[in-house]
């Protein structure tokens, strides 16, 4: 088994707000992230796939295909977007780094051809990142 990781970057804005909370609760729980006009990050995405090395190509996965899927499913949808307003998963769910990693996993999971998705890592900043392995 060999693991292969491909990186990508996207920039997006978001805010943390739960309509079930009072304004005070939202501010207490989410702090500055509750600013109603949103704020932005340069996200780094790391997608790790795993598989056996194909004896003919020497590849775990066709990197071109992986790159295309990441672009189509993730970057086209999230890059330079206001996540709360423009990405369907986040119309009713808070776009925390945790939920972004889960959403990206779900977008990629069924679209990969040969290799198996192992991990989605999303860096919100160099000092904060979330890993999702598809665990329930």
């Amino acid at each position: 088994m060999v693991y292969l990781t491909r990186k990508a970057e996207f920039s997006a804005s978001h805010l943390y707000h739960n309509p079930a909370f009072t304004p005070e609760e939202n501010r207490r729980v989410f702090g500055k992230c509750n600013n109603p006009h949103g704020h932005g990050h340069n996200y780094t995405l790391e997608v790790t796939v795993k598989g056996e090395v194909d004896p003919r190509s020497g590849f775990v996965v066709d990197l071109k295909q992986l790159k295309e899927v990441m672009h189509r499913e993730v970057l086209d949808a999230m890059d330079h977007r206001f996540l709360n307003k423009e990405v369907p998963e986040f119309l009713h769910q808070i776009p925390t780094t945790e939920n972004i990693a889960i959403a990206i996993w779900q977008r990629l999971f069924t679209k990969l051809e040969r290799a198996q998705l192992h991990r989605v890592r999303v860096y919100e900043t160099p000092d904060l990142f979330v890993d999702f392995y598809g665990e329930a």
Binding site: N18, E98, F129, V130
Partner: protein, 134 residues
Amino acid sequence: MKAHLSRRYLFSASHRLHSDAMSDEENQSTYGKCNNPHGHGHNYIIEITLSGQVDSQTGMVCNLADLDAFIEKEVLARFGHENLNTMKEFAQEVPTTENLCIRIYEIVQRGFRQAHLERVRLEETMMNSFEYAG
């Protein structure tokens, strides 16, 4: 759904690697430059990884502001800009980054209950890092 959250923090401290159980020659041959009697310092980077179910109300594994406040008080304020050899934590053992990594793991595991502690990774320099998972 279960996710893993990692957060990185920086602090600076000095130490000297020296074991009372060894002769001066043995200390010198074991620890090399790190045995310099006046000590030396590092910019340490701590990477804390926590896991847990993503809360449906907050979208979070744990509240980041609470984690930051805990680490600031219990780790950064405690070890930052200290000479590790003078601290009670290292009265009986050599303040190697291995031992420091274990101490930090114990502090977080005992004191921060909002999520499961997966591991502590401690970077002593860009070239050296240590991990402890209990």
